[in-house]
Symmetry: D2
Subunit: 140 residues, 4 copies
């Protein structure tokens, strides 16, 4: 979650759910992350645009990756998302930045854009708290 | 999104993304909705528990369905989620209620539980605004 | 912030800003807090009802006090509030509960009611994260 | 709430609660608002820094004013705030922008800074939904 990759390199998300959906990591550098997800009918709600849950998943993940670039192994503690416009297009692009960070926590923001032939349109804005993974035994 | 079903009846979510993940609607009655989702490795993050995006998707959907029971066709305008505990178990259960509603909007809350042999544990708490679908042409 | 008081006892908030506004602590017991604030013209916005900032202040404080009943000295890390109805009345009453708590953090919810002769009406719903005060030197 | 003022002009907030606290409007132009508030002991919590409720009040107001610059008479429907750092200093400065807006709603973000001799430090980040005041009789 915290490996830095070069700008422009495109890497599959290594989390099972990210792979399942087809998430690509398109930018990871200090204080920033960008994720992309190709849209397809399976990811829609009944009105023909991407389900809000897909948009919030991508925002949440981008917030986590952005926080991870400054904190190391992290989790999202909480997040908030405003849906600004139906997510219609070929691809979602989530761009997250670190707004403030301390030793164990970071506040991050994310904008999610729907990309189509006509360009990119903002479809959601998110904000959340990313925390260093607490030291405890992994669930087995 | 707003059809009332009898308590206890279990119905597949009719939204493509809900079907894709396997979401079941287990309760829809005035002011309340319950959704369930069987967990499987595809829905996990790398640590072996359900990805936060899965949890927030289910919470978001339950908020929407709950709001829909009092408002008719609806969308989630915005939501906030706190992750309280890793979502480890066989099944997620999201229970949402309407806290306040007007003519075009409702404030709803949702608790998400992870169910395993040991019972149910709260893994997330969400709150959001559900709005009546604005009258405008559907995207084509 | 964490002293337990008997139910029904009414105590002035000992924080300067709480005293300045006239906040009363009307309940503090494990996992719960209730604060009250008498409304007056100074606390209004231009439309004759309590300013949203007054409502969110009271919700935030109640969340903090509730968290403090289980965690000891605490701070609000973040919060979210939905304004459900204009806060018109003689008095605001904020009731907060702990939804989930760990060693250093708690997720709390709060309902704010406006009380008038006609009874109590929900005017806002809040949710937030309360954390144990980090060990660091006090600002001087 | 929606009168445009020239950049740099400093105007007292005309809302009773804003006047009570001493809020100044230091910028109002299309899509942006800046509010300032001189800190004083009355606005503190017990630890010597501004009460979170003061910070969230200022953020909420700045979000509303920013939304008002594009929508006209408005209300805050909901907001979320992350406290990033104790608000220690002489003055709080809240800078809000419109991220997205439609006919009746806007999504806005706000950063709150604590200003002292050492400069400005971000102490909170907020995001919320601003809506056009619904057409209904004013409360009397």
């Amino acid at each position: 979650m915290w490996t830095k990759i070069e700008r422009g390199e495109r890497m599959a998300d290594t989390q099972p759910f990210g792979r399942f959906l087809g998430t690509e990591i398109t930018l990871l550098q200090s204080g920033q992350a960008e994720l992309q997800l190709a849209l397809r009918p399976d990811l829609n709600q009944e009105d023909g645009f991407a389900h809000g849950g897909v948009v919030s998943y991508l925002a949440d993940s981008a917030l986590t990756y952005a926080g991870g670039t400054v904190l190391g192994p992290v989790l999202t503690l909480e997040m908030k998302i405003n849906y600004a416009r139906p997510a219609v297009g070929d691809r979602l692009i989530a761009r997250a930045i670190v707004v403030s960070s301390g030793r164990t926590q970071a506040v991050c923001r994310c904008d999610v854009f729907a990309q189509s032939e006509g360009g990119e349109k903002l479809c959601a804005a998110a904000q959340g708290t990313i925390i260093v993974v607490p030291k405890r035994p992994k669930p087995t």
